[in-house]
């Protein structure tokens, strides 16, 4: 036990004396969560729009007021002719233009029908889509208010309710993903680098000649990272609760235990990587290409798995991050207990056992 403490102490010296690893350990998680939380977002807020109003009558004025009163849009300018549309879009600031047809109110009364053209800048398709949905919603709303007094034949009014994330905040989607990514990065990459560093420096040989058993060396090396990963997980959860007001609906204890499980999965992967790579450089490349990319692209973190082509969907099953994201989304957003996520937990557990078994086998071979 005393040997173990001595070993862990040495590992902490390594970590705290290396500015680069310190930065990856503590700077990265905070930077990532801030980046994803604030900068990268699907929400629209104060989008600049322009108005081309051919009627300039009571109804159009009312609608324009309604739109500019919403927090989603701010009216950047009024334009006078069709040919300006192109010009305004090309300047790039305005993302949408509302084009009211001539005799808007008159048509509404006589023909019971008038048109607004919503033109959006679809260079960013997601935003364009969201904008047109929002404009639609505002118009529907306006219409409903107007029709309150008049009795129309019948009406179907869809009552949409977005459960688990009523305000459609993108941070709800990013926090679980970022947490997964950080835990993976810290646990797998940092451990594989720190183990290969000993190999590169030749100190691993010294450790193996010492009475320490190989598994003691490995446990001694990964232990500090378990500890640091847990701290990172806590920091990320606290940031998301207090800065992004993202609630944790389910049990914090369960969330903690599942995170520890995933940390161990990642560590096992890190050890596996270290057994197959001779240098720190290789370990880093394998971690980045082999772990980070799949986490970002295939885990459902950013791109929904259900909309991937079938082969990709199949491949995504072997990515531990996919299961962990399902688990923590369940706990954080839906507040589910173990009875809903035992299957995912079991899969993760199985993967962990597999990776540990494989690396133990590999590690022995290396010693021969």
């Amino acid at each position: 036990m005393k040997r173990f403490i001595g070993f862990v102490k040495k590992e902490f010296y390594h970590i705290f004396r290396d500015k680069r690893s310190l930065f990856i350990l503590f700077g990265m998680p905070i930077a990532q969560i801030m980046l994803f939380g604030f900068a990268i977002t699907n929400e629209i807020n104060n989008v600049d729009i322009a108005i081309l109003d051919h009627s300039k009558d009571a109804t159009t004025k009312e609608i324009i007021t309604k739109i500019s009163a919403s927090k989603y849009f701010s009216i950047n300018q009024f334009i006078e002719k069709e040919s300006d549309i192109e010009v305004v879009f090309k300047k790039g600031k305005v993302k949408a233009i509302l084009n009211f047809e001539k005799d808007f109110t008159k048509n509404l009364i006589t023909k019971k029908h008038s048109n607004i053209q919503v033109i959006t800048d679809a260079t960013d398709p997601n935003t364009a889509n969201t904008i047109s949905n929002y404009v639609n919603a505002i118009l529907q709303n306006y219409l409903k208010e107007q029709n309150k007094n008049t009795t129309s034949a019948y009406q179907i009014v869809p009552q949409t309710r977005m459960v688990y994330n009523p305000e459609l905040k993108s941070v709800y989607m990013f926090v679980p993903g970022v947490m997964t990514m950080i835990l993976m990065l810290v646990s797998a990459m940092m451990t594989s680098i720190s183990i290969t560093r000993e190999k590169e420096l030749g100190t691993m040989e010294i450790l193996l000649v010492s009475p320490l058993k190989p598994f003691q060396v490995i446990i001694g090396k990964v232990f500090p990272y378990i500890f640091l990963s847990i701290i990172n997980a806590i920091v990320i959860i606290l940031l998301s609760i207090f800065i992004f007001k993202m609630p944790v609906q389910g049990s914090l204890l369960l969330l903690g235990l599942e995170s520890v499980l995933f940390i161990i999965t990642s560590l096992a992967l890190g050890i596996l990587i270290s057994t197959i790579s001779a240098t720190q450089q290789t370990a880093m490349m394998i971690s980045l290409m082999g772990l980070m990319l799949p986490v970002i692209l295939l885990s459902g973190f950013i791109f929904p798995i259900s909309s991937m082509p079938v082969p990709m969907q199949v491949i995504s099953n072997i990515i531990p991050a996919k299961w962990f994201i399902i688990i923590i989304k369940g706990i954080m957003l839906k507040g589910v207990g173990l009875q809903y996520i035992w299957k995912e937990t079991l899969i993760l557990l199985g993967m962990t056992v597999f990776f540990i078994g494989l690396s133990v086998k590999k590690y022995k071979i290396r010693l021969e």
Binding site: G6, F7, K10, Y13, G202, T203, E205, I206, P211, L367
Partner: protein, 242 residues
């Protein structure tokens, strides 16, 4: 009084597939002896040494180190030997003091023993000024001396030195060999590989490996007589060129 053998090797062989790296070597090393293990690069000395220190399994043969069998009792061997490799065994980002504490710790020394040893070391090597310096900032010669002392921390019966003096100046090498003599005088057996033939002259006995086999084994004096040459360098060249 009959001398005690601390290393006994008989027909020890290591094969990697079809390639025989170490081919049935046989030798004994006596307690307190400085045993030079010579050979050109690729002659198999490092492989042979790795089998003796328990990090590589022999293919066949017999080997007994410090009273334990390398096949069945490699773990016990590890407790009774010290090892210093050609790449330096110390951590550059730890101070001298932290390195000593760490290595003492993994060999199971108590805190008290470590402190005593450290004070003794600081005294002997004159490290007072640098105990709290990072090892990475020290000159190579210092690293080597400290490295050797660290390998001796747990009073091993045998110390294995794998090309310990690569890349240092003659004065430091001289001082290093003085340390080796001192350790040998205190009863520690020294098993050393080297490229420097002048160092071979310092050894009590030397063996010369060529292509996986031990081609010569005797005191430097007798070897020179046997090959009718003036120095070890010529002995080595005669053997290595075959």
């Amino acid at each position: 009084m009959k001398q005690e053998n601390v290393i006994h090797v008989e027909n020890l062989t290591k094969k990697f597939g079809d390639f025989t790296a170490v081919n049935a070597i046989t030798f004994d090393v006596e307690k307190g002896e400085i045993f030079g293990f010579l050979g050109a690069n690729g002659a198999g000395k490092t492989t042979a040494m790795k089998m003796l220190i328990g990090i590589s399994n022999p293919t066949s043969g017999k080997a007994n180190v410090a009273g334990f069998d390398v096949f069945t009792n490699a773990e016990a061997i590890k407790k009774s030997i010290g090892y210093m490799s050609q790449k330096f065994a110390l951590y550059d980002d730890l101070t001298v003091k932290e390195n000593i504490t760490f290595f003492g710790g993994i060999y199971g020394l108590t805190r008290k023993q470590i402190n005593e040893k450290r004070c003794q070391l600081v005294e002997e090597l004159g490290l007072q000024e640098i105990t709290n310096e990072l090892v990475g900032s020290l000159p190579l010669g210092w690293k080597q001396k400290i490295s050797f002392s660290v390998a001796l921390l747990h009073n091993p019966k045998i110390v294995f030195l794998d090309e310990p003096t690569g890349g240092v100046d003659p004065i430091t090498r001289r001082q290093f060999w003085e340390m080796i003599y001192k350790a040998a005088h205190q009863g520690t057996t020294i098993f050393v590989t080297t490229h420097y033939m002048d160092e071979a002259e310092y050894c009590d006995r030397v063996s010369i490996m060529v292509n996986g086999k031990i081609e010569a084994l005797d005191t430097p004096k007798k070897l020179k007589e046997q090959f009718k040459v003036k120095n070890m360098n010529d002995v080595f060249l005669k053997l290595a060129r075959g």
